[in-house]
């Protein structure tokens, strides 16, 4: 497993930062990206992304409620066909389907405390942070009867396969200023831009929000084969056949050599 650093502004860097839009929020996330790409190679077996940063503030730390941090990473959201099975003539067959036209291929939420203490329901509704809110709110065809079951199924199946996850208490916060978390990504990632959001909350209310993108791309052989199979399918097919015939001939030749010795 390789570790990618979404590198952070260290405490030292904090002092050097210019005054930007800091006036808007009293507390603000500072997060510099030194590596914002995940490369999917032919031997890619998942990746752990380390996200860490600091909170920049002009005023002293408010003493009322402790600062909490929420990090969400959300993959590209292509449409997905959800099918439901029913028993027909004794066997289980797909009977109906609903096209959910936007469901992220990957969605992870990491929080610094149990979810209901870091974010109120109202704020969740506004920012669409929890898995249910992030997925269901964008689900399509909600006018179809029972469509909610299909949207639920997307969440259930993707949670089971590790594509959707809520990781409570996985963001470490030091001195209400420095925070870090690691987000695990599975091996069969979908390519695309991964929206990364960081929320700072106090008493369940969002006090600051920060957004950035992680670029997840196939590279090398994997990129080449994928592109070839989609753009030059005829060539790809011929190549598959050529490899198969070469392998068949090679095996035959190798073993007849062995036998003749």
């Amino acid at each position: 497993m390789r570790k990618l650093l979404l590198s952070a502004a260290t405490a030292a860097a904090l002092a050097l930062l210019p005054h930007s839009a800091a006036q808007a929020a009293k507390e603000e996330v500072v997060l510099g990206l030194s590596q914002d790409r995940v490369a999917i190679t032919a031997t890619f077996d998942g990746s752990e992304i380390l996200i860490f940063g600091a909170v920049k503030r002009e005023t002293p730390i408010p003493s009322d409620e402790p600062l909490q941090v929420i990090v969400t990473v959300s993959g590209p959201a292509p449409s997905v066909m959800v099918r439901r099975k029913e028993k027909k003539l004794g066997i289980w067959v797909n009977v109906d389907s609903v096209l959910v036209d936007s469901a992220p291929a990957f969605y992870a939420v990491a929080t610094s405390a149990p979810f209901d203490t870091v974010l109120t329901d109202t704020e969740d509704l506004r920012y669409r942070v929890s898995i249910e809110r992030a997925i269901r709110s964008v689900g399509a065809a909600m006018h179809i009867r029972g469509a909610q079951d299909f949207a639920d199924a997307v969440v259930r199946i993707r949670e089971k396969d590790g594509f959707y996850s809520l990781r409570e208490d996985t963001v470490a916060v030091d001195e209400q200023t420095l925070f870090r978390t690691a987000i695990k990504m599975p091996a069969d990632l979908t390519e695309g831009d991964y929206q990364t959001r960081i929320f700072l909350t106090r008493g369940g209310e969002v006090v600051s929000q920060y957004e950035t993108t992680i670029d997840v791309r196939k590279v090398g052989l994997e990129r080449f084969l994928f592109a070839l199979s989609r753009e030059q399918p005829f060539l790809y097919g011929l190549m598959s056949l050529a490899i198969a015939i070469a392998a068949g001939w090679g095996a035959s030749a190798a073993f007849s050599l062995l036998r003749n010795r």
Partner: protein, 296 residues
């Protein structure tokens, strides 16, 4: 997907195909379903792998001159038509979301019939050999109606003068099977060649391999260009395991009796069939499934 698991699977099926002298496609494709490869990908990729194993096999037959090229070409015409038909049906059902069902039903039916027949026949053979000490089964060829058909052609290698219609029909059936099930179809074609066409046994295997290469090759191309479901990396891993396994299997096969081998193979086929059948009959843990819409 774990590369060693795939190499191992390829090797295991390779050992079996070497031991029993079968292509192994009809075992490999269901095994790929079991480890979670989508049926559409399993079928297309397996077609590609069969090209490799058949090519390796047919070279040996060419050296021994046991390939009836002319008959192979006639079978081929049917095979290409069948493969094209099969891929059309396959793609249509894929759009409807029923392709998994089609592939699995085909497997349950074919594995059930072939496994059952093989099991009964080898039981009978064992019983007979115990009684009489191994009498050769009488070859019965039904050639009456075949000689009445038009468009006759001479097949010198097979020593036949028959109509081209039966071989083309056999070819069409095998082509459809190749496209839908990702199998070479040797287990259907070999009996059909012997009992329906009346070809001499010594040219049957070589000719069927020769025909399988072109039909599965054509199927691979069709799947690659219409479905994008051929996975080269998967095919190569299965291939490496398969080629090595087949050589080991051939050696193991030498030490076992033919009837015992066949009964083992029959049991295995029935077991795979039962597992596939149960999956269709029992209520799945998850009633919903996700499929992409092809809109990448």
């Amino acid at each position: 997907m774990n590369a060693f698991l795939l190499l191992g699977l390829g090797g295991m099926v390779g050992v079996l195909s070497g031991m029993f002298g079968v292509g192994g496609g009809f075992l490999m494709t269901p095994l790929l379903f079991f480890i979670g490869i989508p049926p559409a990908v399993a079928v297309a990729t397996e077609a590609n792998q069969i090209v490799a194993s058949s090519f390796s096999g047919v070279l040996a037959h060419f050296r021994r001159r046991t390939v009836d090229i002319k008959m192979g070409m006639v079978l081929q015409v049917g095979g290409l038509i069948g493969a094209a038909l099969g891929v059309v049906v396959f793609n249509h059902l894929k759009a409807l979301g029923q392709v998994d069902l089609l592939v699995k039903l085909c497997y349950v039916v074919f594995l059930g019939v072939v496994g059952g027949l093989m099991f009964i026949e080898s039981l009978n053979a064992i019983r007979k050999s115990k009684k009489t000490g191994g009498a050769a089964p009488a070859a019965h060829r039904q050639r009456g109606w075949i000689h009445a058909l038009p468009f006759k052609m001479r097949f010198r290698t097979s020593g036949l003068y028959i109509s081209v219609i039966p071989p083309i029909l056999v070819g069409v059936c095998v082509g459809i099977l190749a496209a839908i099930m990702g199998v070479g179809g040797g287990f259907i074609m070999v009996p059909a060649m012997i009992y329906i066409l009346g070809m001499p046994t010594k040219v049957v295997v070589g000719t069927s391999l020769f025909q399988i290469i072109l039909v599965t090759g054509f199927t691979t191309m069709l799947h690659a260009t219409t479905n994008y479901t051929v996975d080269i990396v998967l095919a190569v891993l299965l291939l490496i395991g398969g080629v090595i396994g087949a050589q080991i299997g051939t050696r193991i096969g030498v030490y076992m009796k033919a009837e015992q081998l066949r009964i083992l193979l029959a049991l295995m086929v029935i077991a795979v069939c039962a597992k596939l059948g149960l999956d269709l009959l029992l209520q799945p843990a998850e009633l919903f499934s996700l499929g992409d819409t092809g809109g990448h």
